[in-house]
C-alpha cells in the first residue's frame, strides 16, 4: 500500500487530506472527530476579533437532482472568544500530536495585532499558521480578508509581519477574486510565506427566489454577495493551482482547495502541483466520513499506477499544462461512433449541428438511422463525445498524417506576416 504521508513546508501529515478553515473546523470537538474519521490535518476556523454573524448564511445551486454542486456563504470568521479557541487548539494538538493542525488567522491591518495573535497561536503548539487573505465578503468590507489578498503589497507586508513574530510555517491563503493569481502569490512568497493555499471562495450571488423575488440567502429581505465553493469551482481552482505550480518564482508548496469531494478530485490537484488538499463543502454536505474513501481510493490508485508514495505524483501533470500558443497545431483527432453502443438519442447530432461544426449527419444501418461522423469536416472539438450518454460509444481517434508538431508560437516566429490573421 502506497505511503500517503506528506511533509508540507515542514508540517508532517499522515495523509494529504486536510479540512479547510470553515464550519467543519469550528471547534475542538469537531476537529477531533474529523481526525478520528481519518483526516490528516485541519485548518482551524479563522481566528480574529469575534464577530456577529447574520442569520441565513448559506445558499446553493443544484444541478437537476444533484444537490449543492455549488455553495455560497456569507458567514464570517469565528464567533467564539479567542481564549476558548486557543485553549481547545492546545488540547487538540496534545491529543493528536501526529496530525497537522493549522490555525487560520485574520486580524486588522496592524502589525501589533498580527504579532500578538501569531504568538498566541504558536504558544498552543499548533503546527502552522494560515493567513486568510481571501474571504470575499464581510471581512473585506472591514479592510481584511480579500481586501488584503487583492493588493500584492498588503499581502507581502502582512506576511512579513507574521514571519517576524513566529517561527511556525506560514501559509498564505489566496483569493481567486483577482485578475491574475500570480502577483499576489509572488508577493506572499516575497513576504516570506512558507506555502500557499488556494483558492478561497469566489464572489457570487446565488440566485433569486422567484416567488418573493428576493435573492438568496435572504437576510430580512436583503441579500449580499458571498463566497462560492463546491464542485462547480474545481476547474477554476485547478487552473490557478497549475499556474502557480509552473511559476518559477513561486517555489513553495501549495495546498489545493476548491471543489474537492473525492479521491479523484484530490489526485487531480496533487498531479497539478498541490502537496496537500483542503476540503470543506463536501464535508458540509456529507460529513467527515467521506475521507475514508478518499484515503482508500487514492491509495488504490497509487498502487495500481505503481507508485510507492503519494509524493511521487505531486506536480506530475503540471508540465503538461502550457500556453495555447505552444500547443501543436498539427495534432488532429476525429470523433468515432461505435454504432453497437449507439442508443440513437441523436444528442451528438444536434449538439454538432447547433453547437459545433455540422458534421454529424445520419446514415441507415440495418434499417435504423444512426448518426455518423463526417470525418472530413470533423474538427475534433470533443463536443459529441462530451454529450454522448452511452459510455464508450463516441471516442476521439487520433489521425496521424505524419506531419511534425508545430505551435502557433513557432509558426508566427517563422512567418509573422501570415499568422496575424489568425
Amino acid at each position: 500500500m502506497a505511503d500517503l504521508r506528506v511533509n508540507f513546508a515542514g508540517i508532517e501529515s499522515p495523509n494529504p487530506f486536510w479540512l479547510a478553515s470553515a464550519p467543519p473546523t469550528n471547534m475542538g470537538s469537531m476537529v477531533e472527530r474529523a481526525f478520528d474519521a481519518g483526516w490528516g490535518g485541519a485548518v482551524w476556523k479563522t481566528l480574529g476579533e469575534p464577530i456577529v454573524n447574520v442569520c441565513s448564511r448559506l445558499a446553493a445551486i443544484d444541478s437537476g437532482p444533484n444537490r449543492m454542486i455549488g455553495l455560497n456563504n456569507i458567514e464570517l470568521i469565528t464567533d467564539r472568544p479567542l481564549d476558548v479557541n486557543l485553549k481547545e487548539i492546545r488540547a487538540c494538538k496534545r491529543k493528536y500530536p501526529k496530525h497537522a493542525l493549522i490555525i487560520s488567522l485574520m486580524v486588522e491591518s496592524k502589525r501589533e495585532a498580527w504579532h500578538e495573535i501569531a504568538r498566541q497561536v504558536e504558544d498552543t503548539g499548533a503546527d502552522g499558521l494560515e493567513l486568510n487573505f481571501g474571504c470575499p465578503h464581510g471581512m473585506s468590507e472591514r479592510g481584511m480578508g480579500a481586501a488584503m489578498g487583492q493588493v500584492p503589497e498588503y499581502t507581502c507586508m502582512v506576511t512579513e509581519w507574521v514571519k517576524e513574530a513566529t517561527s511556525l510555517p506560514v501559509i498564505v491563503k489566496l483569493t481567486p477574486n483577482v485578475t491574475s493569481i500570480t502577483p499576489p502569490a509572488r508577493a506572499a512568497v516575497k513576504g516570506g510565506a512558507d506555502a500557499l493555499s488556494l483558492i478561497n471562495t469566489i464572489n457570487s450571488l446565488m440566485g433569486v427566489d422567484l416567488d418573493t423575488m428576493i435573492p438568496h440567502p435572504n437576510v430580512n429581505g436583503m441579500a449580499a454577495h458571498g463566497g462560492y465553493c463546491g464542485p462547480a469551482v474545481k476547474p477554476i481552482a485547478l487552473n490557478m493551482v497549475s499556474e502557480l505550480a509552473r511559476d518559477a518564482e513561486v517555489n513553495v508548496p501549495i495546498s489545493g482547495i476548491g471543489g474537492i469531494g473525492t479521491w479523484r478530485d484530490a489526485a487531480e490537484f496533487l498531479l497539478l502541483g498541490s502537496t496537500t488538499v483542503q476540503v470543506c463543502t463536501a464535508v458540509m454536505h456529507y460529513g467527515y466520513r467521506i475521507v475514508e474513501d478518499m484515503i482508500d481510493g487514492l491509495s488504490n490508485y497509487l498502487d495500481e499506477k505503481g507508485f510507492q508514495s503519494v509524493t511521487e505524483i505531486i506536480g506530475r501533470s503540471a508540465p503538461r499544462v502550457t500556453d495555447w500558443g505552444s500547443l501543436d497545431l498539427h495534432y488532429k483527432t476525429v470523433a468515432h461512433i461505435d454504432h453497437s453502443k449507439c442508443i440513437q438519442c441523436n444528442l451528438c447530432h444536434i449538439a454538432c449541428e447547433d453547437g459545433a461544426h455540422q458534421c454529424i449527419p445520419f446514415t441507415e444501418i440495418d434499417g435504423k438511422r444512426f448518426p455518423i461522423i463526417d470525418k472530413q469536416e470533423c474538427v475534433g472539438c470533443n463536443l459529441c463525445y462530451l454529450v454522448c450518454p452511452s459510455p464508450g460509444c463516441i471516442s476521439m481517434v487520433r489521425v496521424d498524417d505524419g506531419s511534425q508538431p508545430v505551435s502557433w508560437r513557432e509558426l508566427s516566429s517563422r512567418q509573422p506576416e501570415t499568422m496575424t490573421a489568425d
Partner: protein, 487 residues
C-alpha cells in the same frame, strides 16, 4: 333467482384490491425521473407515440418546474392525455422506444410523468386550450369516446360549433366505461370530457343516432332520445363518426344466455360504478378469450374476490393477443390459463337458474390461418367440464355494419371497418369523416385520439380549403444534414 352473484370478500378488501396499480409520482420522484431523461433529439418516444407528443419537451418542462407548459404540450397533441397517461400500453409505445431502456434497461416512466403534468393541471382547474373564434360552421360528432373527444377538441379550437352525440349518460366512451378500474377511474375520463365541454362543445348524452328515425318503445324504455342521420346531416356541415365497435361477439354455443354469463364489457362497466355490492361475481369464473379485455376481466374478477379464475383460450399462449405485460399482470393475480381449450356449452344448474359448468374441448393447432395465427381444431372426444358459476365472454366486439352500411357512400372493408383516407379520415361520403375503433377495428385510445385529430384537420380542409396541422400531426421530420463528402 337462484344465483345472485356477489363478492365473497369484505368491501374494504375489494376497495384495496382496486387501488391504482400505478400510483401518482411524488414531486421528488417526478423531478428525479424528469432529470433522468436524456432529452433525445428527434426522440424515439415521440416517434413511437401515435399522437407524437413532444415527450422530451414535456418532460424537461417538468424538470424546469413549468408544469402548466408541460400539460399544454401534452394536451396540444393529445386531448385525452390524462387518460393515455394511465391506459396506454407504454411498454410497446413510448417507454418501449426509450433510449434509457437500451442504456440501462430502465426506460423513463413517461406515462407516469405525463400523468404528473396532467394531474397538476386538472387539479388546479387551469385551461391550456382555447376555442377558436366562431367560424359559423357546425360539425356533429357521433360518439364521445377518445376519437370523438379528440375530433371535437380540435374542431372547437378551429372555431367550429360542435355537438357530440352519445347514447351513454357519461361522456368518454370506453375511456369512461371500459378501462380496468385499477388503471383508471371514471373521473379522469369525465374530467377530460369536461375540458372539451369548456371549449364550447355541446354534449347530447343519452342520445341514439338512428338510421331512419326509429323511435321504438324499446328505446324510450332506455330513456334515450333519438336523432336520425337525416336530421344530423341537415343540422351540420360535416359529421364525424367515432362510434367504436358494437356488442361483444357471441360464442354461439348452448347455454350462452344463461343467467351468470356476461359480456366482459358489461361486467367492466358495472365495476366502473364502484358500487361493489351490485357487481356480479362468482366463486369460480371462466373468462373466454385472451385479448387485453380478457385480461382486464380476469384480473378484476380476482380483485372482486373470485376464488378461482380461469382464462380459456382456444389457441396457445404464443398466439395470445394480449400484451406481454398484461399477461404478466394476470399471472401475478394467480389466474389459471387453459390454453388450447374451447367452450362448447355452458351447463346450467339443476334449477336452470345459473351456471354450473363450462363444457370444453381440447384444441389442436394447425397451420396459420388468414389472421396469421395458427388455426385451431377440436380434438375429437376430448370434452370435459370445468365447474364454474360465472362465465365472462371477452371475444372482441362486432362491427356496427347495419348502422354504417346505411349511410350513403360510406364504404366498409371486408372486416366491416369504415374505409377512410388515412390522412384526413374522410369516408366515401365527403360529408362524413370517421376515426377510432370503427375504422381501425379496435386499437388503443391513443390511436383513436390521433385519428380524431387528423379527421378534424380533414374536416376543416374540406369545408374551408385551408390546410392546418396541429401538434403531432406528423413526425417532426428531421432534416437530413449535408451529404457526407467522403469517408
Amino acid at each position: 333467482m337462484s344465483t345472485t352473484l356477489n363478492p365473497s370478500i369484505p368491501i374494504e378488501e375489494v376497495e384495496r384490491n382496486f387501488r391504482e396499480i400505478a400510483p401518482p409520482l411524488t414531486e421528488a420522484e417526478a423531478v428525479f425521473e424528469a432529470n433522468r431523461c436524456v432529452y433525445c433529439y428527434d426522440a424515439p418516444c415521440t416517434r413511437a407515440c401515435p399522437t407524437h407528443i413532444d415527450v422530451p419537451g414535456f418532460i424537461k418542462k417538468i424538470a424546469s418546474g413549468n408544469l402548466l407548459g408541460s400539460a399544454r404540450v401534452i394536451f396540444d397533441a393529445n386531448p385525452i392525455g390524462a387518460t393515455c397517461a394511465r391506459v396506454c400500453p407504454v411498454d410497446v409505445l413510448c417507454e418501449g422506444a426509450c433510449v434509457e431502456k437500451t442504456l440501462m434497461d430502465k426506460p423513463i416512466e413517461i406515462g407516469r410523468l405525463q400523468r404528473y403534468a396532467t394531474d397538476d393541471l386538472m387539479s388546479k382547474g387551469r385551461e391550456v386550450l382555447q376555442a377558436g373564434a366562431p367560424n359559423g360552421r357546425s360539425v356533429g360528432v357521433i360518439g364521445s369516446g377518445p376519437a370523438g373527444l379528440s375530433c371535437a377538441t380540435y374542431l372547437a379550437r378551429l372555431g367550429y360549433a360542435v355537438t357530440v352525440y352519445d347514447r351513454k349518460t357519461l361522456a368518454g366512451g370506453l375511456d369512461t366505461y371500459g378501462m380496468a378500474e385499477y388503471k383508471m377511474t371514471q373521473r379522469v375520463s369525465t374530467e377530460e370530457a369536461a375540458m372539451v365541454s369548456r371549449l364550447g362543445v355541446e354534449f347530447k348524452m343519452n342520445t341514439l343516432i338512428t338510421v331512419n328515425g326509429d323511435r321504438s318503445s324499446e328505446l324510450q324504455v332506455q330513456n334515450l332520445d333519438t336523432i336520425s342521420l337525416a336530421e344530423l346531416e341537415a343540422k351540420h356541415d360535416a359529421i364525424f363518426i367515432g362510434i367504436g365497435l358494437g356488442a361483444t361477439t357471441r360464442l354461439n354455443i348452448p347455454g350462452e344466455d344463461l343467467q351468470g354469463v356476461y359480456d366482459a364489457l358489461d361486467f367492466i362497466e358495472r365495476i366502473k360504478t364502484r358500487e361493489w355490492s351490485s357487481v356480479p361475481i362468482g366463486r369460480n369464473v371462466a373468462v373466454i378469450g385472451a385479448g387485453n379485455t380478457a385480461i382486464d376481466a380476469v384480473t378484476q374478477a380476482r380483485r372482486l374476490g373470485a376464488e378461482r379464475v380461469l382464462l380459456v383460450y382456444r389457441r396457445s399462449q404464443k398466439e395470445m393477443p394480449a400484451y406481454e405485460y398484461e399477461y404478466e399482470l394476470a399471472k401475478k393475480d394467480a389466474v389459471e390459463f387453459w390454453w388450447q381449450t374451447a367452450p362448447v356449452e355452458v351447463l346450467s344448474t339443476e334449477d336452470g337458474g345459473g351456471v354450473a359448468a363450462l363444457r370444453c374441448v381440447r384444441m389442436e393447432l394447425g397451420e396459420p390461418d388468414s389472421s396469421g395465427r395458427r388455426s385451431a381444431r377440436a380434438v375429437e372426444g376430448s370434452e370435459f367440464d370445468i365447474p364454474v358459476d360465472m362465465v365472462i365472454k371477452a371475444l372482441g366486439q362486432q362491427k356496427m355494419r347495419d348502422f354504417l352500411g346505411a349511410i350513403d357512400g360510406v364504404k366498409l372493408d371486408e372486416a366491416g371497418r369504415i374505409a377512410v383516407d388515412k390522412a384526413t379520415g374522410r369516408t366515401g361520403n365527403p360529408k362524413f369523416f370517421a376515426g377510432g375503433d370503427c375504422v381501425n377495428g379496435g386499437r388503443e385510445a391513443v390511436d383513436a385520439s390521433q385519428a380524431g385529430k387528423l379527421a378534424a384537420q380533414g374536416i376543416h380542409e374540406s369545408l374551408t380549403g385551408e390546410h392546418v396541422e396541429f401538434a403531432g400531426t406528423r413526425l417532426p421530420l428531421l432534416e437530413e444534414t449535408h451529404e457526407i463528402k467522403a469517408h
